[in-house]
Amino acid sequence: MGLGLEKRLLVKEGRRNVLYDRGAMKVIFLATAMITLAVLLTGAIGYTITKTGVVDKLKSKDLHYIARSMAARIDGRLERATETSRLLAGDPTVAQWVAGEERDEALGEKARKRLIDIASDYGYVNTFIVSARSGNYWGEEGKILETMDLQDPYDRWFFDFLASKAPIQVHLDYNKARQNTYIFVNARIGSAEEGYGVAGVGLSLEDLAKEFQQYRFSAGSRLWLVDEKGAIHLSDNLEANGKSLSDYLPETVKDEILRGEPDKAGTTVMEYLDGAGNQMDLISQPIRATGWKLVFQVPRAESLAVLNSILVNMTLTGLFSVALICIVFYVVSRRIADPYRRALELNEELERIVAERTRELSEKNRNIMDSIDYAKRLQEAILPEPAEMNDLFADHFLHWRPRDIVGGDFYWIRRYGEAEYIVAVGDCTGHGVPGALMTMAVNTMLNHIADETLRDDPAGILLRLHQAVRETIQKKAGGETRLDGLDIGLCSVRGRRVVFAGAGMDLNMTGGEAASTVTVLKGARKSVGHPRFGAGDMLENQVVEAGEGQVFYLTTDGYPDQNGGPNDYPFGKRRFESLLASLAGVALPAQQEIITQSLSDYMGGEAQRDDITVLGFTLRNDKVAYGDGGEAANG
């Protein structure tokens, strides 16, 4: 293999791999993109549905649940405290003791014990009984902590409550004596008309604040306990205590949440965008024991924090799926593409081999054709020149058409004088190269025989030729007789006298005495070279005195044997003869044209079957001069 070829192959190799890889990568890339898109779409839809669901649930359930449970806790605490306060205030012992201006020591003992017990047993930071008569404020230790003073703003709650005639009151208050803010539940001792004093319990805000902190939903969530005006009394964030909702919410939102349309449970749910553009969910829930409301706010982003994990998980799962599917797909496509690639490679290989073989074949073919072309020159060299033929005959045409480049048909002349010569047309067994080889041999033999004095004995010439063929070409090969031979028609001409002998060939004649009919001089049936050639066969010399305008035709079997027509039959001798008859009186060049055309019309698309030779000639010294052309009917 030359370097150049190797290089070309390498280039091809490279191109092929690039082609394959590009194709495979395209498919893989496309599939990956589709898979990714599908996963993304599924993920996005899933996430959206989940988000919508979560948001829905958050607004319709979770926030409500949080707010309600918070409110319920506070309500519970306050109700218990209210109940306790009511019981304490309604206790006859306490009522009598306070009504009796705390003089009855026995009652006092009991009442004070109640104070102590309630505080310690029920975990209230403080319990109290305040007498309207004496103004004494009894605390959880059963001692007087202070005396109510109408002038003291910190004591105002007591006088206000008594004046309000309400049986019970929950309020937030800073207790001066205790130095702390409490939720106090005040219950009236006595009736609305006559109040002897106030008894109740106090809850430490810190306790509740702790509770509130337990409800810390997320970092940004806020829980406020507000009164009707929006003042914050309690928050999960102690800093907010004493501030107003207005400090935390836009005014419209605050109004909405405090006075919005609540549902049956008194819950108001709304959402708004805060200054920073964060979506906030807000819910308010009334505390039944008081006029207060519990307001709970949570940033949407934080309540959807669970979605973040879902999103993260989904993304991870998605990526993992995509990666996995891609790997699987890649592997599978490689598996699929591999045989395909191998097939491509094999195909390339085969194509290369085929190309190489084709090149070799075409080279061989060219060599063979060149060789045959050269052989043609040789074969043509032994054939008479057109000038010789023109000189010999008054007029003639020669239709010589080997099936292949060279052939087994030949024509031969030997001239002895001005109007004395021998003309022959022959058809050697086979065609193509073997036929042509034989024509060369036969040509030599004829030349030798023509040197002998047989010039006016064509039959003798044929017998001599037969012997020569038997001796040279038909050498015994392994006891097997080869039957190669030739058909030949030979005319010995002297002036206007023609002597004909043929072997496997007849002499056709038109014109002369039998104007437009064909006269046939039959040659012997057996070909030269046939084992029984000349034995009892009609091998004889036939003499013709040429009439005016008589045309002689010598034809090999290629013309009549040519297949074609509607039934794919041979052209046939009869058809040929009637064609010749129809040409009587037509100039020879025109005859050749018609003869050629007739056969090609008959053949149609069929291939030439054999070598074709038709020689037509007229003798010199003819008084009839042919015109140009003439009517000819095609047979």
Partner: protein
């Protein structure tokens, strides 16, 4: 011995020589590029067949050549010579040559062959398919 069968192809006839039925059939156009090469094994087979052929057996030969070129006809001639030689030695062979009535050269060709052999030789018009 084995049957000789060669499927017909473009340019070569179908060969169906059955040594059990004693029928030798050749049918189809014959114009191979190298006729001798094609007919060589047929000639060899016929040699072997005729060698073991007894005089009691009746052999039927069916030939049908719509077209036969010169070199093929030389080979068929050789084949007929072998068969005729066996006939002259007293073996029972008869030849049926089927031809197309509309194809003059076929009959002509068949008649030429007929002249060269002594065994029974029937010229039978071929049944045409389109009838």
């Amino acid at each position: 011995m084995d049957k000789l069968y060669i499927a017909g192809a473009k340019g070569t006839p179908e060969v169906d020589f059955d040594p059990l039925q004693h029928t030798l059939k050749l049918s189809g156009q014959s114009y191979p590029e190298n006729a001798f090469k094609f007919y060589e094994p047929i000639l060899r087979w016929v040699d072997a067949y005729l060698d073991q052929l007894t005089t009691e057996v009746n052999v039927v030969i069916d030939f049908s050549f719509p077209y036969i070129n010169t070199s093929s006809s030389k080979c068929v001639m050789m084949l007929l010579e072998k068969l005729d030689e066996a006939f002259q030695k007293g073996k029972q062979l008869s030849l049926n040559w089927y031809y197309d009535e509309d194809n003059e050269s076929e009959l002509e060709c068949a008649e030429e062959f007929k002249e060269d052999v002594t065994m029974p030789f029937q010229l039978i018009p071929r049944e045409r398919k389109d009838d």
